[in-house]
Symmetry: C2
Subunit: 418 residues, 2 copies
């Protein structure tokens, strides 16, 4: 049995399944008799020495974590800079790790977290402190390098496809006398992954979504409006899915056009769907509705993809195994071994290859006309939303999500000045 | 066996379960060997003689209707005025009914539809045409008189409560360094039913939603902002649920403040959540996110309440039974016979008592401070979101919603001039 403590921490925007990864980590560590502490609010909790003792949680609570959205220990948006610029913070981290005999550090997040874990591992080596750092993948943005997909994305993708399908049935029923155009705004400031997933909602040429707007293609307003008009003439209604990150040819975010200040100086929070809906109404005169699902799309554990839940659990379990084997500065990744039938396994990637790299959305996934997805995109995306893994529901009709006790570990160091 | 045709038609905004009612109607009529036609796009299809023959649909398709959202035959927003004002239309309806030997007319909708069914029944009597008209309840607004609740509401309510719970877990995890206030906009232009249902998301004083804004209480901006500030100080974050229908003390809709034209004359489509989020940002300086689920909340069949699905099926079945018994100008309604345990049965209401009445949201359901729901509200609301009735999913990860063939019935009359 290994001695020492394993520290687990969540970072960046949470997902429907990041707690499944946490559940995988804790269950695997318990099976190997390794003590797991978790940092509150990501790396901030590590810096502040705000740690919780996961051994105080029941086995049932840890199992329930696997079906609970959000981030059970808190997450954070807090990026450490280079070791040179933020040396005091990195040294503080090592001091906290030493004080609690942390020998394994698992950082569950995206690019930035992989980078931080990588840097911490290098500094530990420089100080001669034995520490194994493991990055654990998570992001609904699906933009991590090396891994075939990112835990969190599949569930957000399933939410997107199902929601678009359902809303489209509503619009189809009402179009004769009411709403003719519906705009759905998908997350994805930098890449069109989630907007593309909406394409799984339909298969035929006249199925919704009829138009997808990708950040990878310049937004051409005149052409967009022409397409909307054509679809309404042909199908009777038009469902548009727009990525929040779409930009005009000169690089302006369309979302920024929708907001700003009104004539009274009040902030107008617009966004892409609001902007596009306004244009459709003004220029084409169609009745229009729009939706901004916002956090609902990344927290909808009730509609999680089973593939995604399985992978989130698996990377958690693998991260512990990697850690205990001393595979320092690595990340467990999803390797796709076959498309039909879809098969995957866990592989390993050096953090150097993940940190500060970004997986781009492939041009080959976008249909030639720019408004839909290709068969290649379907082959990639569909397995990721496959399977259902509903949470248990209480008698009150609400999923029985768990709230951990999060019992604080006694601090051993002076308060952090950062 | 009765002879003649039963005509079924959907009206107004569709719901996650109106097709379950259609499924109940068709299955029950088939069991009794009664032919069912359906009008395309609600009463418009009846006026235009655009009817479809439901006997062309397989038994499997009719069963699948019960788990398919939207409106399978199309619905419409089209209100007939008084018999005096719209006499030609009412007479046209009777002509179409006669041409197709329609002896039972089932109109599935809200107040207006009950009113139309009632007027058609009176005109038929005046003309000596034997016709039994049945209103079939449906509305996510839950504002029909007599019935304890309305099919469609329970599922939208469940969507609201679950979505708020899930998003709140996301916000709670991120609040330390990111979003501190989240605003959810619920449908309900005239009454706070769905906003109230969000209250089921939490039970404790610090559980989300922390503040609910009802259209029944004047929106007091200064007090609202004070409350948000207090909640953030106490809990660390604040989840607000606002009904789209909230108004200031002088009767202005807050939603109208959020929209309008920007300085370029472009339409700004705002809404309540956008407006409130802007205020929180400007006045309190908190990072804020907001969601406008729009049609997602009324089409989310994947998250339907089993109680609601059961009731939607039951009113469909009962409507056929009422029709065949000649219970003219009535509506099957939900009667609550017990709260704990919740029990209900189908009763009957005269259309006169339903048409043009509106069930108000009870003042006793709103907490004294105006920002939450009472135990009485919970007792009423909770059974309506109880139970799950998920649709079957395909191998592609998407629910297998059915699209009917909707085979047109040959027209027998000259084209309608209306």
């Amino acid at each position: 049995m290994a001695t020492g403590t394993l520290l687990y921490s969540q970072s960046g925007g949470v997902t429907a399944v990041i707690n499944a990864t946490a559940s995988g980590v804790i269950a695997e560590a318990r099976a190997r008799k390794v003590k797991v502490l978790a940092a509150r609010n990501g790396i901030l909790g590590a810096l502040r020495e705000e740690l919780v003792d996961t051994s105080k949680e029941s086995a049932a609570a840890i199992r329930a974590l696997a079906h609970t959205p959000g981030g059970a220990f808190g997450s954070c948006r807090y990026k450490l800079k280079s070791v040179e610029a933020d040396r005091a913070k990195y040294e503080r981290l090592l001091a906290v790790f030493k004080a609690h005999d942390v020998r394994w550090f698992l950082y569950n997040g995206g690019n930035d977290s992989a980078d931080t874990a990588n840097k911490v591992s290098k500094l530990a080596a420089e100080f001669g402190y034995p520490l194994t750092c493991i990055g654990v993948p998570k992001t609904i943005d699906n933009d991590l390098a090396v891994t075939d997909c990112c835990p969190g994305f599949g569930s957000a993708a399933k939410y997107t496809a199902v929601s678009v399908r359902e809303a489209a049935l509503d619009v189809a029923a009402m179009a004769e006398t009411s709403t003719k155009v519906f705009v759905y705004e998908a997350m994805g400031r930098h890449a069109g992954w989630l907007a593309a997933a909406a394409g799984l909602a339909g298969k035929g040429a006249d199925d919704a979504p009829h138009l997808i707007l990708f950040p990878e293609r310049p937004y051409d307003e005149a052409d967009f409006l022409k397409q909307v008009k054509k679809v309404v003439a042909r199908v009777g209604y038009c469902v548009v899915v727009a990525s929040e990150g779409i930009q005009t040819a000169d690089g302006r975010f369309v979302a920024d056009s929708g907001g700003g200040k009104d004539s009274f100086g009040h902030t107008q929070l617009g966004g892409v769907a609001s902007y596009l809906a306004g244009k459709v109404k003004d220029e084409l005169g169609f009745k229009v509705h729009w939706t901004l699902p916002d956090y609902l799309q990344r927290s909808a554990r009730h509609l999680a993809s089973k593939t995604d839940v399985d992978q989130a659990l698996a990377v958690g379990k693998a991260a512990v195994q990697f850690a205990l084997k001393g595979q320092n500065a690595t990340m467990p990744v999803i390797v796709r071994t076959a498309d039909k039938p879809y098969r995957w396994k866990i592989g390993s990637a050096p953090l150097d290859k993940v940190a500060n790299h970004e997986k781009k959305f492939p041009a080959s996934f976008i249909r030639r006309d720019g408004y839909g997805i290709t068969d290649k995109a379907r082959t990639y995306l569909e397995p990721l939303i496959r399977g259902e893994a509903p949470p248990p529901y209480g008698k009150d009709g609400i999923p029985t999500y768990v709230t951990l006790k999060n019992v604080a570990v006694k601090k051993k160091l002076p308060k952090w000045g950062g």
